[in-house]
């Protein structure tokens, strides 16, 4: 294990920012700390770096407990959200800073800095000052500076937060490639679930100081641990059912709810892919109208309205849409294939349930 947290908490005064968090980052892993703003993820990153002291719990880096080791001695590379480049130093001196502090010989420093300039595509920029660089270049200088003293782990705080959307996409791909080449254990903070899903091997999901789930992008998407994760990762339809005689109902939709007392409110959730659509009005049990279709490139997002006014979101490919001859305003029949019973926040989700197939025709695959 490269990084390990055991029951780590952090309180700012009386305000708990991080509560009893435990997770570990494996050697060579590229891991994301994901969550909404103010969720405590940056605090966790800063505690690992040694920029904050945990109120409680233990932090290990490469098996060594580092709680009492100063930030200078932890041998970590840290990339700040706004890069925090030294404004009075040019690119070369920025990258060389850590090496100078470690008293490397000038010749060795020059070789190392040139190597990093090459690796990060910054050749020719070594004399520029930070204010003379673009956002993307600044970020690469910040990464080069953090990598220069050969840290054992690389920590990045919202690495793509400060650059515009187009460059962000390039930087993501580039970070994956860099990580692949260096094989350096990397932990980065992001509030963008798409970014975390696309870039990382595994994701740690935070909300309001609590760890919600740790898993691969596929795991957190397909087996969300709780409602927060289910709603935060990807899109989810959430309905509140009222139970009567073993059946939970909302609008015209009905789901089996055996074992729940009458009057109980039960919440269920399902992915857009679980909503099956047929142009044949008798094919599925529920009637609906396609209220609006949104084009998202290859995929389309559909808003379906039921006669009771209930609105559901669905997804399909352009080809499926064309094959079913759908259009806005068209009447269709629908069914919800897979769904989960949702529990309260921080509590585990119920198992995935399947509505029995009525026919062989269905749209979409699983959730």
């Amino acid at each position: 294990m490269s990084i390990e947290l055991k029951n780590v908490s952090k309180h700012f005064g009386d305000v708990p920012a991080v509560n009893q968090v435990s997770f570990s980052v494996r050697d060579g892993e590229l891991m994301a700390l994901l969550g909404p703003s103010g969720g405590g993820k940056t605090t966790v990153l800063r505690m690992i770096a040694g920029l904050e002291t945990p109120t409680d719990g233990d932090i290990f880096i490469r098996g060594e407990r580092v709680n009492d080791i100063k930030v200078q001695k932890r041998n970590i590379g840290f990339v700040f959200q706004n890069y925090a480049l030294f404004q009075n130093m040019n690119v070369f001196k920025n990258i060389a800073f850590g090496l100078k502090i470690k008293k490397w010989r000038p010749g060795k420093i020059k070789t190392r800095v040139e190597e990093l300039l090459r690796l990060l595509g910054l050749e020719g920029f070594e004399n520029r000052y930070p204010h003379q660089l673009s956002g993307g270049q600044r970020q690469r200088v910040a990464i080069a500076r953090a990598l220069a003293p050969k840290p054992s782990v690389l920590l990045l705080d919202e690495p793509f937060g400060a650059v515009d959307a187009k460059i962000r996409q390039e930087l993501r791909e580039w970070l994956v490639r860099l990580h692949h080449d260096l094989n350096l254990t990397t932990l980065f903070v992001t509030h963008d679930q798409e970014e975390a899903m696309e870039v990382s091997n595994r994701i740690v999901i935070f909300s309001r100081g609590y760890l919600e789930q740790v898993g691969t992008p596929r795991e957190v998407y397909e087996q969300p641990a709780n409602e927060f994760v289910a709603r935060f990762i990807g899109v989810m339809n959430v309905l509140e059912l009222t139970v009567k005689k073993g059946i939970g109902r909302v609008g015209e939709l009905a789901f089996p709810a055996a074992g729940y007392p009458d009057g109980e409110k039960v919440r269920i959730g399902f992915r857009p892919f679980s909503v099956q659509i047929s142009p044949d009005l008798n094919h599925y049990p529920y009637p609906a109208v396609i209220r609006q279709t949104y084009f998202l490139g290859v995929m389309l997002r559909l808003e379906l309205q039921l006669p009771s006014g209930l609105v559901l979101r669905s997804r399909m490919t352009k080809e499926e849409y064309a094959a079913l001859a759908l259009y806005d305003g068209r009447k269709v029949s629908i069914q919800i294939r897979n769904y989960r019973i949702l529990a309260k926040e921080h509590e585990p989700l119920g198992p995935e349930l399947t509505t029995p197939e009525k026919t062989s025709l269905y749209i979409g695959e699983g959730i």
Partner: protein
């Protein structure tokens, strides 16, 4: 499309103007007013000082400056500046750091106190020290018994100067430090630097310009202070006269050529510090320009294409 071109012509002279831009008349009016004031109230009097100083020739000028009392005044002025400027730099750095980077009880009080010397008349400042350390003052008796002279001696002049120059460095540094924040310093820590290294290599350079302006202002005031120093000095020729006091004394003795000679030297010192500042700025600008024009191999986008063969990190 001649018709199209013609239709544009009427507005052509103003076509390139942005909505927020003032009319050329207004622009030149403002520039003229600023220039006129600068010339009439700043440049002409300054030139006049030098003209008057040299009105009776270089010999008189030289004799006025080499007079032992004048030399003593020059020495004292330099000494006072040499003591009070470093002390104010130290105080300014400490208080600016405290205000910009920490939050604590009494922070706003400290912030207000720093401005006190700006709002108190220098004469009052001088009097305060007389009331504290003078013979009739609170500590006067004790100081007298221990044979320590503060008022009508060099220490009093230094104290008074320290008081009036108190805010200059801190006032310049606080906004700079506040805008810089502490991320650069944290970055230095993660790269292995200790507190001292961080201060010398990151903090100090990042507030360099604020510090330079502060020192220049502080120095100018330390050399030029009249009111506060006048109260505590006692005007002992060759002993406790600083240059500004010496100028006044000579002028009152109808020795205007010598008065202007000393005054011109004071003005020269001020011009020199401004010259140094300009030189530093010019150097910095040249360094940036050189860095900007440096050969650029790869344009931003190109860097993302296939990173070259990688060696161990």
């Amino acid at each position: 499309m001649p018709g199209y071109l013609k239709s544009k012509r009427p507005g052509a002279s103003t076509a390139s103007m942005r909505g927020t831009e003032e009319s050329p008349f207004f622009k030149w009016l403002l520039i003229s007013i600023a220039l006129l004031f600068a010339v009439v109230f700043l440049l002409l009097p300054l030139i006049n000082v030098f003209a008057q100083a040299l009105s009776k020739g270089w010999m008189v000028y030289w004799r006025a400056l080499s007079d032992p009392d004048s030399l003593a005044a020059i020495r004292l002025t330099l000494l006072v500046a040499a003591i009070s400027v470093p002390l104010n730099v130290l105080f300014g750095l400490a208080s600016a750091w405290a205000i910009a980077k920490f939050s604590f009880r009494g922070k706003s009080l400290l912030n207000t106190l720093i401005d006190l010397p700006f709002s108190v008349s220098p004469v009052v400042a001088g009097l305060m020290y007389v009331l504290l350390f003078g013979l009739q003052g609170h500590f006067g008796q004790w100081l007298n018994e221990h044979d320590i002279k503060i008022i009508f001696a060099v220490p009093g002049i230094v104290l008074a100067t320290l008081f009036v120059t108190f805010p200059f460095v801190a006032r310049e540094l606080v906004p700079v430090m506040e805008s810089t924040g502490s991320e650069q310093e944290q970055a230095a820590l993660t790269l292995g630097a200790n507190g001292w290294q961080t201060f010398w290599r990151v903090t100090l350079p990042s507030v360099k310009w604020g510090l330079i302006y502060g020192v220049i202002l502080c120095n100018a005031r330390a050399m030029g202070e009249f009111g506060a120093v006048s109260v505590v000095s006692g005007h002992i020729s060759g002993m406790t006269d600083t240059m500004p006091l010496r100028v006044e004394k000579l002028y009152n003795e109808y020795n205007s050529a010598a008065a202007f000679a000393t005054a011109s030297l004071l003005a020269l010192l001020a011009l020199l510090t401004l010259g140094i500042k300009t030189l530093l700025e010019w150097n910095q600008a040249r360094e940036y320009a050189r860095a900007q024009s440096a050969r650029t191999l790869a344009e931003p986008g190109a860097a993302f294409v296939a990173p070259p063969q990688q060696s161990t990190p």
